[in-house]
């Protein structure tokens, strides 16, 4: 008897809980806005990318909730509603991430999802977000293929994709060293490494058709031992070595290659080298061409927003924010802009022209309700907004893919500290394909500015 009563009570309690936490309808009252945040908290990507992203997200959410961000972001939270972060670990592979995403949406009832550093995860999550009709902002992954191979209504990416990294690298290199004749590469053998090398190779072939490839090393992701690859590169005598290596792999490569003098004869390009400027120190050869995958970190333009991000981040991490932190800022500030723009439009539409009755009630109802997902999407498409990295425009992928310029620089050891000099900036049109044209086709076609 006792057991059945207990069972019934438990059942009732469960039913009550799930009914309360049921799927939020588009027009439900938003008192807090729950944002699912997916980033690497373990594994090799955690140290250089995942954890800095999490620290940046926490710092930004705290500031937004307190209304302390610089204008135009000084309203509290999103349109007055405070934000609540639900952080999930991106480690474990794409299959696991898809089920975690479903959990976030149906069990944790998040209003928005911001996340994904790995290109593989982005490609897998986008269709699921579309299926579950949850507005999702991809914040860091680089593959151009998300919006070049499909269109999405609910998925946005607030940072430019990786084609511009490769194209700008080629342009910067040829401006710095016009006499380049041979080039080789060492990249990790997975989507990011292969795409980076292919795009760079295509760009070089387009800009300097008589330059030849010496060798393209593709060690396994996480290999860690590069003795043979370094020997092969030394043997090849390349003028230039291109590398999109990151994380422990990059550190291992540098530790193993610098004592062997690999970069005395070859110019090194580190496409994603910016997060390691302070870590590598003496192991970063002078004169290395580095990128930050955009105008982030040392390449970010001076602005109130940039100073704000640096201050709040350093309070949490005691070193300067690197490019994943800047990507997080783009995502949160972009979503906030879209949300508040949608809210204003919703308010203005709630009062019919010439109405004189019930205006106050209608406005209050609309104000408390918050914009629907459809309204946020409509506001987000084609939006331009400011960030610590500069101004971003959602102008590719039918208004879902952000476009910004980029910059590259050269390292120089000054008083034992690695600095970046000779910074050149490239506007978006010069390094990004136009809407509707896939990156490889655009590069092969001569990279005509998309204007």
């Amino acid at each position: 008897m006792g057991k059945t009563i207990l069972g019934a009570a438990a059942g009732l309690a469960l039913a009550a809980l799930t009914a309360h936490a049921g799927v939020a309808s588009a027009q439900e009252k938003r008192d807090t806005i729950r944002i699912g945040f997916v980033t690497f908290l373990s594994g090799p990507a955690a140290g250089p990318f995942g954890v800095p992203a999490k620290l940046a997200a926490e710092a930004i959410v705290e500031q937004l909730n307190a209304g302390k961000a610089p204008a135009p972001y000084n309203t509290k939270g999103f349109g007055g509603a405070p934000l609540e972060l639900v952080v999930i670990d991106e480690a474990g592979g794409t299959t696991k991430q898809v089920s975690e995403f479903r959990n976030l949406v149906s069990r944790q009832n998040v209003d928005f999802v911001i996340g994904y550093i790995s290109s593989g995860d982005c490609l897998a999550i986008a269709p699921v977000a579309e299926e579950l009709k949850k507005v999702t902002v991809l914040f860091d992954c680089g593959t151009p293929r998300v919006f070049e191979e499909a269109s999405y209504k609910y998925v946005f990416r607030t940072r430019p994709h990786a084609t511009m990294d490769a194209v700008a690298a080629a342009k910067y290199l040829l401006e710095l060293k016009p006499a380049v004749k041979t080039y080789g590469g060492i990249n990790q053998n997975y989507a990011w490494g292969q795409d980076s090398w292919n795009d760079f190779d295509l760009a070089m072939k387009s800009l300097r058709p008589d330059a030849t490839v010496t060798t393209s090393q593709m060690p396994k992701f996480g290999a860690g031992q590069y003795g043979a690859e370094i020997s092969a590169l030394l043997q090849s005598g390349s003028d230039v070595i291109h590398s999109s290596l990151w994380g422990g792999d990059l550190e291992a490569l540098m530790m193993q290659s610098v004592p062997r003098g690999l970069f005395r004869k070859s110019q090194l390009i580190l496409v994603a080298g910016e997060p390691y400027l302070h870590r590598l120190g003496a192991n970063m050869p002078d004169g290395t061409i580095v990128g930050a995958r955009g105008t982030h970190g040392v390449f970010a333009p001076e602005s109130g927003l940039n100073t704000w991000l640096k201050n709040i981040y350093k309070a949490k991490a005691d070193y300067d924010p690197n490019y994943p932190a800047y990507s997080v800022a783009l995502a949160f500030l972009g979503l906030k802009s879209a949300f508040e723009k949608a809210k204003i439009e919703q308010l203005s539409k709630s009062i019919p022209m010439g109405a004189n009755k019930g205006v106050k009630e209608e406005m209050e109802k609309a104000y408390n309700l918050g914009p629907s997902d459809e309204q946020v999407i409509a506001a987000f498409e084609g939006l331009s907004f400011d960030s610590p990295s500069g101004r971003a425009s959602m102008s590719l992928g039918k208004g879902h893919q952000a476009v910004m310029g980029t910059a590259y620089g050269t390292t120089k050891l000054v008083n034992g500290k690695v600095t970046v000099t000779n910074i050149k900036r490239y506007p978006a049109e010069a390094v990004t394909p136009p809407d509707g044209l896939a990156s490889p086709e655009w590069i092969k076609g001569g990279m005509k500015p998309s204007k």
Binding site: P219, S231, A232, Q235, M255
Partner: protein
């Protein structure tokens, strides 16, 4: 000619590294018939311990050459602590069960150790580059190699010779061989098999940790290095024959040379080359190259 020389040298260096990381695995299997999947995380533990010990030594300002001693000390420490803990605490409980159960238990140990190392050392990459750069580098033709790689080759040779001598020419070694050959008979003639197991497992862990400790100065020690090593060590040991020391050496040389050739001549298949060799060897000799013929027991 230059490229051929480079391939040979790279092959030798890589083979020595492979031998050191694989020999512990094959030793444990040979004696205890346990495939120790946790081998990779013990390697990682050795690497982390090396950064801790070595980092402490250098931070105190002691002579940098002593950091090499610290690497070896780290390996011994990990062996003496983790070996008995795992063997007495866990494996002892499952001896005699099916091999699948044993593999699952060691896999569980692998997962536990992965998270323990993350708890203890954090997720940020650690490094201890000083021992790598201290000895300078030497030139062969146009190529420059760090002297540390030479040390690795010599050390790996030393380990191979030492193990062969111990196993073949000391009393303890011969007892071990008796246990390898037939455990029941060895127990039957009064050999303390359980103590032999403990010593073997501890030595195996020490060797795994030594591999990690010696590798630590050349890489960035971070979560994830364990998984890489297990697969490679397994491939080497399987090619040579599980349980055979000579097999581990031969397997290491074959894999090292094939991979060095692939990297220089045909980089696209570099990843695949190791497993292609493994598949070929297994097709021709399913138990590996040096597997002893086994009498069928009724």
């Amino acid at each position: 000619m230059n490229q051929f020389l480079a391939i040979v040298i790279d092959g030798v260096i890589y083979s020595s590294w492979l031998f050191i990381i694989a020999v512990g695995l094959t030793l444990i299997y040979g004696v205890m018939k346990i495939l120790n999947v946790a081998h990779g995380s013990l390697y990682a533990l050795g690497a982390y311990a090396a950064t801790a010990f070595g980092g402490y030594w250098l931070a105190q300002g002691y002579p940098p050459m002593g950091s090499y001693g610290m690497l070896v000390l780290a390996a011994i420490f990990v062996g003496l602590v983790a070996g008995p803990l795992i063997e007495r605490g866990l494996l002892r409980l499952v001896y005699g069960k099916e091999e699948v159960v044993l593999v699952l238990v060691t896999y569980a140990v692998f997962l536990i150790l992965e998270d323990l190392t993350k708890l203890a050392f954090g997720v940020d990459p650690l490094s201890i580059p000083e021992p790598y750069g201290l000895l300078g580098s030497f030139e062969i033709g146009e190529l420059m190699y760090p002297t540390y790689s030479l040390v690795l080759v010599l050390l790996s040779g030393f380990v191979a010779i030492a193990l062969t001598l111990i196993l073949g020419h000391t009393r303890q070694g011969k007892l071990l061989q008796a246990v390898i050959h037939d455990r029941e008979m060895a127990a039957g003639v009064g050999i303390n098999v359980s103590r032999v197991y403990l010593i073997t497992f501890t030595v195996g862990v020490m060797l795994a940790a030594l591999g990690g400790a010696l590798t630590a100065p050349t890489i960035s020690v971070q979560p994830g290095i364990a998984a890489e090593v297990i697969v490679l060590a397994f491939a080497v040991v399987v090619i040579g024959g599980l349980g055979s020391l000579g097999g581990a050496a031969l397997g290491a040389v074959i894999v090292g040379m094939v991979r060095a050739w692939a990297v220089h001549k045909w980089p696209e298949v570099e990843l695949f080359s190791v497993y292609a060799v493994m598949a070929l060897v297994l097709i021709m000799r399913p138990k590996g190259l040096f597997a002893a013929p086994e009498a069928r027991k009724i």
